[in-house]
Symmetry: C2
Subunit: 127 residues, 2 copies
Amino acid sequence: MNKKRGCNAERELLHLLSKQGFSVARVAGSGMIAETNCDLFVSNGRKKYAVEVKISSNSKKYLSKEQMTSLIEFSKSFGLSPIVAIKFLRQGWWFIHPDKLNTTGKGLAISFDDIKKRGKNFDKFIK
Amino acid sequence: MNKKRGCNAERELLHLLSKQGFSVARVAGSGMIAETNCDLFVSNGRKKYAVEVKISSNSKKYLSKEQMTSLIEFSKSFGLSPIVAIKFLRQGWWFIHPDKLNTTGKGLAISFDDIKKRGKNFDKFIK
Protein backbone atom coordinates (compact mmCIF):
# COMPACT_ATOMS: atom_id res chain seq x y z
CA MET A 1 0.00 0.00 0.00
CA ASN A 2 0.98 3.62 -0.42
CA LYS A 3 3.69 4.30 2.17
CA LYS A 4 2.30 7.58 3.50
CA ARG A 5 -1.25 6.28 3.74
CA GLY A 6 0.09 3.20 5.48
CA CYS A 7 2.02 5.30 8.01
CA ASN A 8 -1.01 7.46 8.67
CA ALA A 9 -3.14 4.39 9.25
CA GLU A 10 -0.58 2.97 11.69
CA ARG A 11 -0.49 6.25 13.62
CA GLU A 12 -4.27 6.50 13.67
CA LEU A 13 -4.59 3.01 15.13
CA LEU A 14 -1.77 3.71 17.59
CA HIS A 15 -3.60 6.75 18.92
CA LEU A 16 -7.00 5.01 19.03
CA LEU A 17 -5.58 2.13 21.05
CA SER A 18 -3.48 4.40 23.31
CA LYS A 19 -6.63 6.34 24.18
CA GLN A 20 -8.15 3.05 25.32
CA GLY A 21 -5.28 2.49 27.72
CA PHE A 22 -3.24 0.10 25.60
CA SER A 23 0.56 0.28 25.55
CA VAL A 24 1.45 0.70 21.89
CA ALA A 25 4.76 0.91 20.08
CA ARG A 26 5.16 1.50 16.37
CA VAL A 27 7.87 -0.47 14.62
CA ALA A 28 10.35 1.66 12.67
CA GLY A 29 11.50 1.52 9.14
CA SER A 30 9.90 -0.90 6.79
CA GLY A 31 12.28 -0.75 3.87
CA MET A 32 15.24 0.03 6.07
CA ILE A 33 15.41 -3.36 7.71
CA ALA A 34 15.29 -6.34 5.37
CA GLU A 35 11.93 -7.43 6.69
CA THR A 36 9.67 -5.65 9.08
CA ASN A 37 7.49 -8.28 10.57
CA CYS A 38 4.76 -6.23 12.16
CA ASP A 39 3.69 -2.60 12.43
CA LEU A 40 2.54 -2.23 16.02
CA PHE A 41 3.12 -3.89 19.35
CA VAL A 42 -0.06 -3.61 21.40
CA SER A 43 -0.76 -4.68 24.95
CA ASN A 44 -3.13 -3.97 27.79
CA GLY A 45 -1.06 -6.16 30.10
CA ARG A 46 -3.45 -9.05 29.61
CA LYS A 47 -3.78 -9.25 25.83
CA LYS A 48 -0.57 -8.81 23.84
CA TYR A 49 -0.51 -8.46 20.07
CA ALA A 50 1.86 -8.00 17.15
CA VAL A 51 -0.31 -6.10 14.67
CA GLU A 52 0.03 -5.87 10.90
CA VAL A 53 -1.83 -2.74 9.77
CA LYS A 54 -3.64 -2.59 6.41
CA ILE A 55 -6.07 -0.32 4.63
CA SER A 56 -8.56 -1.26 1.97
CA SER A 57 -10.16 1.19 -0.41
CA ASN A 58 -12.79 -1.34 -1.42
CA SER A 59 -14.56 -4.32 0.09
CA LYS A 60 -11.73 -6.85 -0.14
CA LYS A 61 -8.13 -6.96 1.07
CA TYR A 62 -5.41 -9.16 -0.43
CA LEU A 63 -2.41 -10.17 1.67
CA SER A 64 0.74 -12.14 0.96
CA LYS A 65 1.33 -15.55 2.50
CA GLU A 66 4.98 -14.69 3.14
CA GLN A 67 4.06 -11.61 5.12
CA MET A 68 1.53 -13.52 7.22
CA THR A 69 3.98 -16.37 7.87
CA SER A 70 6.56 -13.83 8.93
CA LEU A 71 4.03 -12.07 11.19
CA ILE A 72 3.09 -15.35 12.85
CA GLU A 73 6.72 -16.39 13.45
CA PHE A 74 7.72 -12.97 14.71
CA SER A 75 4.76 -12.86 17.11
CA LYS A 76 5.61 -16.30 18.43
CA SER A 77 9.17 -15.27 19.11
CA PHE A 78 7.93 -12.45 21.39
CA GLY A 79 5.07 -14.39 22.96
CA LEU A 80 2.51 -12.16 21.26
CA SER A 81 -0.67 -13.00 19.34
CA PRO A 82 -0.54 -12.16 15.64
CA ILE A 83 -3.37 -10.00 14.37
CA VAL A 84 -4.20 -8.18 11.16
CA ALA A 85 -5.92 -4.80 11.54
CA ILE A 86 -7.66 -3.58 8.39
CA LYS A 87 -9.30 -0.21 7.93
CA PHE A 88 -12.03 -0.67 5.35
CA LEU A 89 -13.25 2.42 3.53
CA ARG A 90 -16.10 3.97 5.56
CA GLN A 91 -16.29 0.82 7.73
CA GLY A 92 -13.65 1.63 10.33
CA TRP A 93 -11.15 -0.78 11.85
CA TRP A 94 -11.53 -4.57 11.83
CA PHE A 95 -9.29 -7.20 13.37
CA ILE A 96 -8.67 -10.78 12.35
CA HIS A 97 -6.23 -13.58 13.14
CA PRO A 98 -4.11 -14.44 10.06
CA ASP A 99 -5.30 -18.07 10.27
CA LYS A 100 -8.82 -16.91 9.50
CA LEU A 101 -7.96 -15.34 6.13
CA ASN A 102 -9.11 -17.02 2.93
CA THR A 103 -6.64 -18.68 0.59
CA THR A 104 -6.72 -17.40 -2.96
CA GLY A 105 -4.57 -18.75 -5.81
CA LYS A 106 -1.22 -17.42 -4.71
CA GLY A 107 -2.03 -15.46 -1.61
CA LEU A 108 -4.56 -14.66 1.05
CA ALA A 109 -7.56 -12.39 1.15
CA ILE A 110 -10.47 -11.30 3.28
CA SER A 111 -13.65 -9.58 2.22
CA PHE A 112 -15.50 -7.10 4.41
CA ASP A 113 -18.43 -9.53 4.58
CA ASP A 114 -16.16 -12.29 5.88
CA ILE A 115 -14.32 -10.13 8.42
CA LYS A 116 -17.71 -9.12 9.85
CA LYS A 117 -18.38 -12.81 10.51
CA ARG A 118 -14.90 -14.03 11.52
CA GLY A 119 -13.20 -10.90 12.86
CA LYS A 120 -13.84 -8.22 15.43
CA ASN A 121 -14.68 -4.57 15.11
CA PHE A 122 -12.80 -1.98 17.21
CA ASP A 123 -15.16 -2.12 20.18
CA LYS A 124 -15.03 -5.90 20.38
CA PHE A 125 -11.27 -5.94 19.89
CA ILE A 126 -10.56 -3.61 22.81
CA LYS A 127 -12.86 -5.49 25.22
CA MET B 1 21.74 12.18 23.58
CA ASN B 2 22.24 13.51 20.07
CA LYS B 3 19.34 12.16 18.01
CA LYS B 4 21.36 11.00 15.01
CA ARG B 5 24.04 9.33 17.12
CA GLY B 6 21.29 7.69 19.11
CA CYS B 7 19.60 6.36 15.98
CA ASN B 8 22.89 5.06 14.63
CA ALA B 9 23.55 3.27 17.91
CA GLU B 10 20.10 1.67 17.84
CA ARG B 11 20.65 0.47 14.28
CA GLU B 12 24.10 -0.84 15.08
CA LEU B 13 22.77 -2.89 18.00
CA LEU B 14 19.81 -4.05 15.93
CA HIS B 15 22.15 -5.43 13.26
CA LEU B 16 24.56 -6.99 15.78
CA LEU B 17 21.73 -8.85 17.50
CA SER B 18 20.02 -9.82 14.23
CA LYS B 19 23.28 -11.40 13.07
CA GLN B 20 23.18 -13.52 16.21
CA GLY B 21 19.74 -14.84 15.30
CA PHE B 22 17.67 -12.56 17.51
CA SER B 23 14.35 -11.16 16.31
CA VAL B 24 14.71 -7.42 16.66
CA ALA B 25 12.30 -4.55 16.04
CA ARG B 26 13.18 -0.89 16.38
CA VAL B 27 10.55 1.35 17.92
CA ALA B 28 9.60 4.35 15.81
CA GLY B 29 9.45 8.00 16.55
CA SER B 30 10.73 9.16 19.86
CA GLY B 31 9.43 12.72 19.89
CA MET B 32 6.47 11.88 17.72
CA ILE B 33 4.66 9.83 20.32
CA ALA B 34 4.29 11.45 23.74
CA GLU B 35 6.52 8.87 25.32
CA THR B 36 8.61 6.23 23.68
CA ASN B 37 9.27 3.65 26.31
CA CYS B 38 11.99 1.60 24.76
CA ASP B 39 14.14 1.56 21.62
CA LEU B 40 14.33 -2.09 20.62
CA PHE B 41 12.30 -5.24 21.11
CA VAL B 42 14.69 -8.18 21.19
CA SER B 43 13.97 -11.90 21.43
CA ASN B 44 15.55 -15.21 20.67
CA GLY B 45 12.30 -16.99 21.50
CA ARG B 46 13.56 -17.84 24.97
CA LYS B 47 14.83 -14.50 26.25
CA LYS B 48 12.67 -11.47 25.46
CA TYR B 49 13.75 -7.92 26.15
CA ALA B 50 12.62 -4.31 25.86
CA VAL B 51 15.89 -2.47 25.36
CA GLU B 52 16.70 1.17 26.05
CA VAL B 53 19.78 2.07 23.98
CA LYS B 54 22.36 4.57 25.24
CA ILE B 55 25.82 5.75 24.29
CA SER B 56 28.46 7.19 26.57
CA SER B 57 31.40 9.23 25.38
CA ASN B 58 33.15 8.84 28.72
CA SER B 59 33.31 6.32 31.58
CA LYS B 60 29.95 7.11 33.18
CA LYS B 61 26.35 7.24 31.96
CA TYR B 62 23.55 9.21 33.65
CA LEU B 63 19.95 8.14 33.19
CA SER B 64 16.62 9.55 34.32
CA LYS B 65 14.49 7.76 36.91
CA GLU B 66 11.34 8.60 34.93
CA GLN B 67 12.70 6.95 31.80
CA MET B 68 13.73 3.82 33.69
CA THR B 69 10.36 3.60 35.49
CA SER B 70 8.63 3.96 32.16
CA LEU B 71 10.89 1.28 30.60
CA ILE B 72 10.12 -1.13 33.46
CA GLU B 73 6.35 -0.59 33.27
CA PHE B 74 6.30 -0.83 29.48
CA SER B 75 8.33 -4.07 29.55
CA LYS B 76 6.00 -5.56 32.13
CA SER B 77 2.97 -4.77 30.01
CA PHE B 78 4.45 -6.85 27.14
CA GLY B 79 5.89 -9.61 29.32
CA LEU B 80 9.44 -8.58 28.42
CA SER B 81 12.54 -8.05 30.57
CA PRO B 82 13.74 -4.44 30.77
CA ILE B 83 17.37 -3.90 29.89
CA VAL B 84 19.63 -0.91 29.29
CA ALA B 85 22.24 -1.31 26.54
CA ILE B 86 25.08 1.18 26.74
CA LYS B 87 27.84 1.59 24.20
CA PHE B 88 30.84 2.96 26.08
CA LEU B 89 33.52 4.73 24.06
CA ARG B 90 36.06 2.14 22.86
CA GLN B 91 34.55 -0.46 25.23
CA GLY B 92 31.73 -1.82 23.07
CA TRP B 93 28.24 -2.76 24.20
CA TRP B 94 27.28 -3.49 27.80
CA PHE B 95 23.92 -4.57 29.20
CA ILE B 96 22.41 -4.00 32.61
CA HIS B 97 19.02 -4.35 34.31
CA PRO B 98 17.67 -0.91 35.34
CA ASP B 99 17.41 -2.12 38.96
CA LYS B 100 21.19 -2.43 39.06
CA LEU B 101 21.88 1.24 38.28
CA ASN B 102 23.23 3.52 41.03
CA THR B 103 21.06 6.26 42.49
CA THR B 104 22.56 9.73 42.28
CA GLY B 105 20.94 12.87 43.73
CA LYS B 106 18.09 13.24 41.27
CA GLY B 107 18.67 10.44 38.84
CA LEU B 108 20.46 7.22 38.08
CA ALA B 109 23.93 6.46 36.79
CA ILE B 110 26.32 3.66 36.01
CA SER B 111 30.06 3.82 35.59
CA PHE B 112 31.98 1.57 33.22
CA ASP B 113 33.72 0.00 36.24
CA ASP B 114 30.36 -0.87 37.80
CA ILE B 115 28.77 -2.23 34.64
CA LYS B 116 31.76 -4.56 34.24
CA LYS B 117 30.87 -6.03 37.67
CA ARG B 118 27.08 -5.94 37.57
CA GLY B 119 26.29 -6.05 33.86
CA LYS B 120 27.08 -8.21 30.85
CA ASN B 121 29.17 -7.60 27.78
CA PHE B 122 27.82 -8.47 24.32
CA ASP B 123 29.09 -12.06 24.31
CA LYS B 124 27.58 -12.83 27.71
CA PHE B 125 24.33 -11.07 26.84
CA ILE B 126 23.71 -13.14 23.71
CA LYS B 127 24.43 -16.44 25.43
